[in-house]
């Protein structure tokens, strides 16, 4: 496929509106990394299996490699940079640090966004549900045990914070 036509898009990324001209074939994750220099979203397989490029599009998790930048015209995209700066996952990040639920850190931004989505959906979830919920995010380093532990600890603390 050649570069083909260019498309003008307006997309809100981490709360900031930006207008860009993108190649029709450019993926969302390449747009974020190359055009906006938001390198916290990572490219692992480019065919939707490893989950390293996971971002939020209009509040919903999406694979940045399976979505085109042009499809995000008019959408609000959130990446690890914005979500981390918001402070909304600080508890989860702290739990990851304590449990050593990250080694090389390459899967980590997407793992955090996925885990946070699981916790928002059901803060009462148990280890098996966490394992199932994270099974679209590949981590080669940890063996997942510590990640599950960190998400469980965050679920507990979020339930307690809500008086549950």
């Amino acid at each position: 496929m050649d570069a083909g036509e260019a498309i003008d898009i307006t997309v809100t990324v981490n709360g900031v509106a930006c207008r860009r001209r993108v190649d029709a074939r450019q993926s969302l994750v390449d747009f974020l990394r190359e055009d906006l220099e938001l390198t916290g979203s990572h490219v692992g397989c480019e065919h939707g299996v490893c989950g390293a490029c996971t971002v939020r599009v209009d509040g919903v998790l999406a694979r940045g490699c399976l979505m085109l930048a042009a499809q995000c015209d008019g959408s609000a995209v959130e990446t690890i940079e914005g979500v981390a700066a918001s402070g909304t996952i600080a508890d989860l990040q702290a739990a990851f640090a304590v449990a050593n639920a990250l080694q090389c850190g390459y899967c980590t931004p997407a793992m955090l966004l996925t885990a946070d989505a699981l916790l928002r959906e059901d803060p009462g979830l148990g280890a098996d549900e966490i394992r199932r919920g994270l099974s679209g995010n590949y981590c080669r380093c940890t063996g997942y045990h510590a990640i599950v532990e960190a998400v469980l600890a965050t679920a507990r603390s979020r339930r307690e914070a809500r008086g549950g």
Binding site: E46, H47, C50, T79, L102, Q103, G105, Y106, R140
Partner: protein
């Protein structure tokens, strides 16, 4: 400072504490800097045309259509690049008789595996470079392929490199005692053939490199996702004909390595050669298909094993024949013979029998090159050995625990030299076994297994004892002529403000090297760990060293840091003594303060000492020179390797209807000597175990008869994901090495060493009442159903 205590009775040791890694916060915020995150001015991108055939002659190559694309800068072939970068041969002198062919950055005349880079397209973006690759027209003349190691040495099989005479890269025979006599005198002899399939590392961050050449100074700076920057510096300098000091290799954050990122890859050498050729910076990042085709593959062994035993389960002897396929080239510079060499040397090492005979043949084939991956040789060796031990127990109706116990090298036998010449200073097999049985409640699980069998539920328990080779000295590579450092250095600098900067040759790929070193430095100098900053992965500034592989970071880098810390502390005390007009031995450094060593009374803050030493040395005696930057080096001199040991237990359930194996739980008890950071060691074990579980059940590079890789995506090549993986319980025994002051040994590969054998034995335990047994990994449903006779 108001909160400074008047007395500090003792210093703080961080050894044995689960300190959080200093880079965790950065990585958790998405602020890691991986190689692909970097962009340099006027940087070009390269994509490679790779051979679609496993073996084919390049008849012609026409790049005109590619060059017509706006933004495509250059198309370079093997012939052109050979003028910039010389070829290499992956052999080591201490592997007698080893041979391999000369390999080049881009194939010349002939491609020898599907995925071998043939031409490079350089463009203004990766996308444009890939557009160019699609338009390079190559006429191929396919050649006969060699895929099956079993027939690679047959006279009728084509020879991949005619100049070598045959397809044999390396052969080795080992003999200890008299295996024939042991077999002749045995009550029973059991034979099996084990197949350990090809798999690969699948680092989530693919291989990545940026080469930046400045023609005005003829200096090359390389940003590389890599484990051994000095090795890369040396090789780039020699093959690009640059002075060693003109090459600087920098490793930023590395997104997983596991032995994948410690070898010389033709596409990475080509990228550096292109930077020299073009006088520009050039980036290459492998995509996932390229990773599967061109990252080194691992294992690919067929092992025939025979064991001779007495009827009471005493092992009398063993014979092993290992045949392993390594692709068309032995990988440079570590060679593809180390895996097989370690396999046959490690196999008997847990046990005390002496009569052992082994044969190894390493053969060429038209598949992706095979080389060292996490736990080199170990998983094959211990799956075979422990598989045979369980076979013995089952055939003779003995308890697998007791068969191990009665054959172990036992506590009173150390120091001990193995059948194949490995020196074991002190291992702890019996203690690890006892600890494992308690940790896993083994007997209760056996009873539960037996009760469930009556209900048609097939669960199994599988043990796998192992040793792990860590902390290698020069016997590994240096003696064979490879310029890979076994020593490592550490530089510590007391900053004027009282903090300590640590620069070292060992490197970080997520293991926690930085945290481990900060703990050692803080403890040995006597400063709070928050005051230590560690820098790794830069050949221009770090002391010369080997990097991180073969579980050497703690054993070598940790000991170097310990010795450097002691030296810096001594120098700090000399400055303090000059300032305080006393003797250095009256003082100590504790928690960032100089104190009276007897009373703990605080005499001086390190920031005050730094101020005087750096800015007011005029106030010190005229004949006194402070030395607040020190470097020390360390190499293990008293043993070739620091061996560790441990044992794993896998608990599985097999569904005889579908052949699916479900992992229920996994336990490990491991002895890596003195533990610096328990949490990091636990997580090294867990991550490594899961890599072994993947190899045991899922991961397989499948080829067809024509040498076409059929598993080029992550949808085809299965990696362990969270849902299939069990919880992993970790226990420890600590037997420090007495040959190094810190007592540290390595822990990075023990998990992978034992997990496949444990799963193999657990599956066979589950299948035993059904009369079935498997000896092939990965143990896919297909393998189980064939063993059960459900599939023909």
């Amino acid at each position: 400072m108001a909160d400074t205590p008047a007395r500090i009775p003792e210093g703080e040791s961080y050894i044995g504490k689960s300190v959080v890694r200093p880079q965790a916060a950065r990585l958790l915020d998405g602020r890691g800097v991986f190689t692909d995150d970097l962009r340099l001015p006027r940087m070009l991108h390269v994509a490679f045309l790779r051979s679609p055939h496993a073996h084919a002659r390049i008849v012609s190559l026409d790049a005109r259509a590619a060059l017509a694309i706006p933004g495509v800068v250059r198309v370079v072939t093997g012939e052109e690049l050979a003028g910039v970068c010389s070829g290499w041969v992956g052999t080591l002198a201490h592997f007698a008789g080893m041979k391999s062919a000369t390999q080049h950055p881009l194939a010349r005349e002939r491609a020898t595996w599907q995925g071998e880079p043939v031409a490079a397209v350089v463009a203004e973006s990766r996308a444009l470079a890939e557009d160019g690759v699609a338009r390079v027209a190559v006429e191929w003349a396919p050649l006969p392929v060699v895929t099956d190691p079993e027939t690679a040495l047959d006279p009728a099989t084509p020879v991949i490199h005619p100049e070598l005479g045959d397809n044999l890269a390396f052969a080795l025979e080992l003999k200890s005692g008299d295996a024939d006599a042991a077999f002749a005198g045995a009550d029973h002899v059991y034979r099996d053939t084990f197949w350990m399939g090809r798999h690969t590392g699948v680092t989530l961050e693919p291989r990545a490199i940026i080469a930046d050449f400045d023609p005005s100074e003829r200096r090359l700076t390389v940003y590389h996702s890599f484990q051994a920057p000095n090795m890369m510096q040396d090789i780039l300098a020699r093959h690009l004909r640059l002075p060693e000091h003109a090459v600087r290799v920098i490793c930023k954050d590395v997104g997983g390595s596991f032995g994948i990122k410690v070898h010389i890859y033709p596409d990475e050498m080509a990228t550096c050669a292109l930077a020299v050729l073009l006088g520009r910076s050039v980036k290459f990042v492998a995509d996932r298909l390229e990773s599967f085709q061109s990252d080194i593959h691992a294992r690919d062994h067929r092992v025939n094993a025979e064991i001779a035993v007495r009827r009471d389960g005493t092992i009398l002897g063993m014979r092993v024949d290992d045949l392993t396929g390594i692709g068309p080239y032995s990988v440079y510079p570590r060679t593809s013979a180390v895996e097989g060499n370690q396999t046959i040397r490690l196999t008997p090492g847990v046990y005390r029998f002496r009569d052992y005979a082994a044969r190894l043949r390493v053969v060429f084939q038209n598949k992706t090159p095979m080389c060292q991956y996490r736990a080199v040789g170990h998983p094959v060796a211990f799956a075979v050995m422990e598989g045979m031990v369980d076979r013995v127990a089952r055939e003779l109706g003995l308890d697998p625990v007791e068969v191990r116990r009665q054959n172990y090298v036992t506590a009173e036998m150390y120091p001990h030299t193995s059948q194949t010449g490995y020196f074991f200073e002190r291992l702890s097999h019996e203690e690890c076994l006892d600890r494992l049985l308690a940790l896993s409640d083994y007997r209760a699980r056996c009873a539960e297994r037996d009760a469930l069998r009556a209900k048609g539920v097939y669960r199994g328990l599988g043990l796998c004892a192992f040793v792990e080779l860590t902390t290698p000295g020069p016997a590994f590579y240096g003696v064979g002529g490879a310029r890979i450092s076994s020593q490592d250095g550490c530089t510590l600098k007391l900053e004027p403000g009282g903090a300590v900067t640590c620069i070292t040759g060992v490197t970080e790929q997520g293991q926690g090297t930085d945290a481990m070193l900060a703990q050692v430095v803080a403890s040995s100098v006597g400063v709070p760990i928050e005051h230590v900053r560690v820098l790794t992965g830069d050949t221009l500034v770090a002391p010369y060293g080997g990097g991180t592989w073969a579980s050497r970071g703690a054993g070598i880098g940790g000991e170097a840091a310990l010795q450097t810390g002691k030296a810096l502390k001594g120098n700090i005390l000399r400055v303090a003594a000059a300032m305080l007009q006393c003797e250095p031995d009256e003082l100590d450094v504790r928690r960032g303060k100089v104190v009276d060593s007897a009373t703990g009374e605080v005499r001086l803050d390190l920031a005050e000492l730094g101020r005087v030493a750096y800015f007011r040395p005029d106030t010190l005696p005229k004949d006194f020179q402070s030395e607040l930057t020190v470097t020390r080096h360390y190499v293990p001199r008293h043993q070739g390797f620091a061996f560790t040991n441990g044992i794993q237990l896998s608990h599985v359930e097999v569904d005889p209807a579908t052949g699916f194996v479900r992992l229920l739980a996994h336990w490990v008890v491991e002895d890596c000597g003195r533990i610096i950071n328990p949490r990091l060691v636990d997580e090294q074990l867990r991550g490594a175990i899961v890599q072994g579980l993947g190899a045991a059940l899922f991961e397989h590079c499948v080829y067809d008869a024509a040498g076409q890789l059929l598993t080029g995506t992550m949808a085809d090549y299965l990696v362990p994901m969270a849902a299939e993986m069990p919880d992993i319980v970790v226990g420890h025994v600590e037997t420090p090495t007495a040959f190094a002051e810190g007592g540290f040994k390595g822990a990075g590969e023990a998990g992978t060493a034992g997990a496949p054998g444990a799963v193999l034995n657990a599956v066979n335990d589950a299948l035993a009442p059904l009369g079935a047994r498997v000896t092939r990994q990965p143990i896919t449903p297909d393998v189980v159903l064939r063993a059960l006779g459900t599939l023909a």
